[in-house]
């Protein structure tokens, strides 16, 4: 008899904790879904011209809001990413392919040099290897990856000066070209502008 009562108590407790746990997991999943959606919409919007960003951010979040089902919401949000490139700025597919191809090629070509630069930056002044710098382009602002050339007070480090003179600090922006935040022409212009300012 006691055994049966014991098992029943255990079962009740088990069900209770199971319910609490599954409730917890659902809440967690809910929070994650919203985070993923916000992240995707945000990324998609960043690919648009600046004056269009706030409109589409609100419109797309409202769109996702109107959809039922978590998976469908995420699929819709993923769609916005492919959208963004075809809207307004209309970057052609061929050009994008060329950008992806050439940035991968250059990243491979520069890989040994980038590796050595990274090791040297780490050895000489510790701190982070990469920083982000704002680049302006046709009214758009892109925060592009660069090798860090300044110390925490904002002064140019000796190593940084060499990197800037050689234009090496700009090379990590190829990652932005690969990601689609920048185009190859933006990258080339930023390298060129750099050469002018330092030389």
């Amino acid at each position: 008899m006691e055994v049966i009562i014991g098992v029943m108590i255990l079962a009740v407790v088990g069900i209770f904790f199971g319910a609490v746990l599954s409730r917890q997991l659902t809440d967690e999943f809910e929070a994650w879904t919203q985070w993923i959606i916000n992240h995707l919409v945000n990324r998609a919007v960043r690919r648009l011209a600046e004056e269009e960003r706030s409109r589409f951010e609100e419109e797309w979040l409202a769109h996702v809001n109107e959809i039922h089902g978590k998976i469908d919401k995420i699929i819709a949000a993923l769609g916005f990413l492919s959208n963004a490139r075809r809207l307004s700025t209309a970057i052609s597919v061929a050009k994008r392919f060329l950008d992806v191809g050439s940035s991968i090629f250059l990243l491979f070509l520069y890989a040994p040099m980038m590796l050595w630069t990274a090791i040297l930056i780490k050895m000489l002044d510790r701190g982070p290897i990469l920083t982000k710098r704002e680049e302006k382009w046709n009214g758009n602002t892109v925060s592009a990856f660069k090798f860090r050339t300044e110390d925490f007070t904002g002064r140019c480090t000796p190593m940084g000066r060499i990197l800037r003179n050689l234009g090496i600090d700009e090379i990590p922006s190829l990652i932005n070209v690969l990601r689609g935040d920048m185009t190859m022409s933006m990258f080339v212009v930023s390298m060129h502008r750099h050469g002018k300012s330092s030389g």
Binding site: A62, H63, I75, A77, G79, N83
Partner: protein, 104 residues
């Protein structure tokens, strides 16, 4: 054809059809998506092209997002120009189809 004219793909026609099915009624992107079964990646470039060509116009839902507790929807409405062009395109298609049937 004018460069500003949207290309009348079957997907574009589906969007126009959805907007014309209930004249004068504004539809949100999500509602058009549901009716046309188009993915978001296809739908918004079409809506954007139609809007730039003046075939469709859009406006924000009334109300403050803070009071609504959610982002505002954007409603789309077909313009007189859009309705005229879409009808013309459909008529043209029908004529071509009728011709083919007669030929058979």
């Amino acid at each position: 054809m004018d460069a500003n004219q949207p290309r009348l793909s079957s997907q574009t026609l589906r969007v126009l059809g959805a907007l014309m099915s209930s004249p004068g009624v504004e539809l949100s992107g999500a509602q058009i998506g549901r009716t046309t079964k188009l993915a978001t990646g296809t739908l918004y470039p079409i809506l954007s092209r139609l809007e730039r060509a003046g075939w469709v116009e859009s406006r924000w839902e009334d109300g403050d997002p803070r009071i609504l507790g959610r982002p505002r929807r954007r409603f789309y409405l077909i313009t007189a120009l859009g309705a005229k062009n879409a009808t013309a395109a459909v008529n043209e298609l029908q004529a071509a189809f009728a011709g083919r049937l007669a030929w058979r």
